[in-house]
C-alpha cells in the first residue's frame, strides 16, 4: 500500500556539493551535522534544535552554524536571507517531505530555480495530509487511513503529493459505503 505507483511522488538523491555554486547553504529540519559530501569549507549550516533538547545545554554553534528554536523561525529567517541574496547561492535541504517542499516554496518565491536547490528526505516519513473535502491540513500522519481533524471524514492517504502545498492528498475512504473503513496500517513512521 505504500507504493501506489503514483508519479507525483518525488525521488530524492543524496546531497552532494555542487561546485558550480559560490556560496552554499545547508538547511535541515533536524539537528545533526551536514553530510560529509557537503561539509567543506564555507558551508553554512542551519538546523533546528530539537524540542527534546529543551532545558539541556546545546553545544555551541561553530563557524557558519546556526540553530533555530523552531522550523517556523528558520523558515522566516530563510525568507529574509534569500531576499537579500545574490546569484551564485546553492541551497541544500534535508528533512521530512513537507519541510523540503515548504523550503522549496520559499526558495522559489525568492527566485531560486531547479538548478540551485537540492532536496533530500530524511527523518520521519510522517505525512502532511490535506483533506480534499474540507481542505484541512492534518500534520504528522503515519497511518494509511486517518480521521480528518477538520470534518471528521475517514481519509485514505493517497500517494498524490502536491509540491505547492507540500502535502499529500486525503480522500474519504467510505464514500460509497459509509462506515466501511478498513483497518489503518502504520505505513509512514
Amino acid at each position: 500500500m505504500t507504493d501506489q505507483g503514483i508519479k507525483s511522488r518525488p525521488i530524492y538523491a543524496t546531497l552532494r556539493r555542487d561546485s558550480s555554486g559560490r556560496r552554499h547553504l545547508y538547511v535541515s529540519a533536524g539537528s545533526g551535522p551536514p553530510p560529509d559530501a557537503l561539509a567543506q569549507d564555507g558551508l553554512e549550516s542551519w538546523t533546528v534544535a530539537p524540542t527534546t533538547c529543551e532545558g539541556t545545554l546545546p553545544r555551541p554553534e561553530g563557524v557558519g552554524e546556526r540553530r533555530f528554536r523552531s522550523t517556523r523561525y528558520l523558515m522566516e529567517t530563510l525568507g529574509r536571507r534569500l531576499a537579500g541574496e545574490r546569484m551564485g547561492l546553492r541551497l541544500y535541504v534535508e528533512g521530512p517531505e513537507d519541510f523540503l517542499w515548504d523550503v522549496y516554496g520559499v526558495a522559489q518565491a525568492h527566485g531560486l530555480g531547479r538548478q540551485e536547490i537540492f532536496l533530500k528526505q530524511s527523518g520521519t516519513l510522517a505525512r502532511r495530509v490535506q483533506c480534499v473535502h474540507c481542505k484541512t491540513f492534518n500534520e504528522g500522519v503515519t497511518t494509511t487511513i486517518v480521521r480528518c481533524a477538520g470534518c471528521g471524514a475517514n481519509l485514505f492517504v493517497r500517494d498524490h503529493f502536491s509540491r505547492r502545498l507540500s502535502a499529500f492528498q486525503g480522500v474519504k475512504i467510505d464514500a460509497e459505503q459509509p462506515g466501511d473503513v478498513p483497518q489503518a496500517e502504520r505505513a509512514y513512521p
Binding site: 558550480s20 534569500l82 545574490r86 546569484m87 551564485g88 525568492h110 527566485g111 530555480g113 538548478q115
Partner: protein, 314 residues
Amino acid sequence: MILDGTLPARVAGIDSLSPTLKRFRFEPERGCFPTAAPGAHVLVTLRGPERVWKNAYSLVTPPEARDAYAIIVRRVEESRGGSHFLHDHLRPGDRVEIGTPASLFPIASLARRHVLIGGGIGLTPFLSFLPVLRERGAAFELHQYCTDAETETFGRLLAEAGGAVTIHGSTSRRSVAEILADQPLGTHVYTCGPERLMAAVEAAALDLGWPSHSIHKESFGGAEGGKPFSVRLARSGRSIAVSDTQSLLEALEAAGIEAPCLCRGGACGVCLTGVIDGEVEHRDHVLTEAERADGKLIATCVSRARSDALVLDL
C-alpha cells in the same frame, strides 16, 4: 521547427541610422504578418542579379506589430552575406520574401530580473524585448557595448527605454563581470553580439555561480568563409563546389537544393545533415563533443570541410 512558406512583402521604408546602419521596414503584400515572439528573427530572401541570399535578421518591431516588420542591418566591408545588396540596391517598393518569424531567444518566463547585454548590431533582438519587459513591469537592465563612434546612434535607438539602459563606449566601459557580480537571485542574463563578448558573458556568469539555465546566448548569423571545398550528394550523385566566401548551406541553396535551416547561425540544429565521408570543421553550437568527434553530422549553415571534399547524405 522547420518553417515553410514565405510571406511576400515589399520594402516600405529605409532609414539611415548611421553611415553603416540602416533600418528596413517591410509591409505585407496583403493582409497582416503573423505575430512574432520577443527576440524572434526572420529569414529574408534577397534576389540579387548574380546570386540569392537568405539571411537571418532579428525583428526590431514590437512583437504585436503585424502591419510591418523592421530589421536593422550593418553594411560590412567584406560582404559575403548580402549586406551590400541591402544597403546599396534595395529600394522602397522592392519585393522581398520573408520567412515566418521564429524565436530561439525567448524571455525566460520564470526570471525575476533580466540583464541584457548587447554588442554592436547584436542589440537588435533586445529591441523587441524592451516593449515586452516594460509592459510586464519586469525588472531589467540593458548594457550596450559599442565603439565610441556609435554610442550616439545606439543611444537614439534606446532612447525610449529610459534609465535602465547603459551604453558602454570603447573608452569607458564597465566589465561584464562587474555588471553580473551583484545581481539578486532569479536573475537571467541574455547576450547577443560578437562571439568574444558572448563567451565573456557566459564565462563571467558561470564563474560567479550562475546556473547554466540562467544564461542565454543568441548566435547571430555567424557564417564565416574559409577554404573552398566540394561536396558530393550521395543520393542524387551531384557534386557542388563551395567557394571561400560561401557557406555550405548557401552553396546547396544556390544549386537549387531545398536545404532546411532556421537560424543560419549554428544555434538551432535544424540544418544538421548526415556526413558519409570526409572530415568536418565544426563551427556550430549545437553538437556535443561526442557528436563532433563522431563526425557523422554537419551544421551546414556555419561548418565547413577540413578535408578537400565531403560526402553528404542528401
